[in-house]
Symmetry: C2
Subunit: 167 residues, 2 copies
């Protein structure tokens, strides 16, 4: 497999992985492209390489910046804006975990807490609803705590912890 083919394969695989986990294809592909690029890319570069429109590129770059995994680079003497992504996989993982926790897991935990706190009227169905949502609430909260722990540790904590768990 040659460079170009390998690169395209990587980008499109990353794109479809994104789709499977609720992240849009263009967004995932832009990040993948930046991730293996040796230098910052302009909007033109990205549009060209991925064959997507200016609007699409602009919107998805913005989202990636909102997620904190892509940053604008000012290149002296250039009028265009250039973009790079976080190159360190650990940091990338932490950032994504952090954002998904904040945006998606927290609101669900909130609802689970509310629902599991309704007044127990002693009927079977109410007891079951409370019991089951409480169990889910605990599980979700634990998983999320772990995720947050990962997020707030220094660089290599994740790898070390995983290693301890695995061996």
């Amino acid at each position: 497999m040659e460079y170009q083919e390998a690169k395209e394969k990587f980008i499109s695989t990353w794109g479809s992985l994104g789709t499977m986990w609720g992240i849009n294809k263009a967004m995932a592909m832009i990040q993948a492209l930046l991730f293996v690029s040796t230098k910052p890319l302009s909007m033109e570069d990205i549009m060209e390489e991925l064959q997507i429109s200016r609007g699409n590129t602009s919107m998805n770059l913005r989202q990636l910046m909102d997620w904190g995994i892509v940053t604008k680079e000012i290149i002296p003497g250039e009028r265009k804006e250039f973009f790079t992504t976080e190159k360190d996989v650990q940091e990338l993982a932490r950032q994504i975990a952090k954002e998904r926790s904040r945006r998606e897991i927290q609101p669900v935990i909130k609802v689970l807490k509310e629902v599991s706190s309704i007044k127990d009227d002693k009927t079977d169905k109410t007891k079951e609803l409370i019991k089951q949502t409480k169990a889910l609430h605990e599980l979700t909260e634990n998983a999320d705590k772990m995720l947050n722990k990962l997020i707030n540790q220094e660089q290599n904590w994740l790898t070390k912890s995983l290693f301890k768990l695995i061996k």
Copy 2:
């Protein structure tokens, strides 16, 4: 908040959480409904409660069974089929983790391995592609190993491990 409202809130929240993580709404809602139900439900029951069509119900129940988190119950004297979901959150989490690993993570690991193994022609861009996909490969493989570890342990291992990590 009363029982009915709480139940509906739980089901629809679970449904939209599903959507955010690439699982379709009806599938997530059916699972949620079964999860808080005190007894097995028939297709009619599910259609009625969630206001979805027979075809939709049938297809999504099938998927849930393929995922191994819903099972058919035979109720003596009843002609209809009845369904239940795994009621234990630990087991549910393990089953979902197992399936998502098998279906989605493994194929990506395979591609990352392929791409990171291309011939190094000593150009900067090839070196960067190899380096970055290799890093991603390692991270993904570690995370997946942990997931698999969780899957193959006895019941309470997950909670215990998480607890150890958190404290």
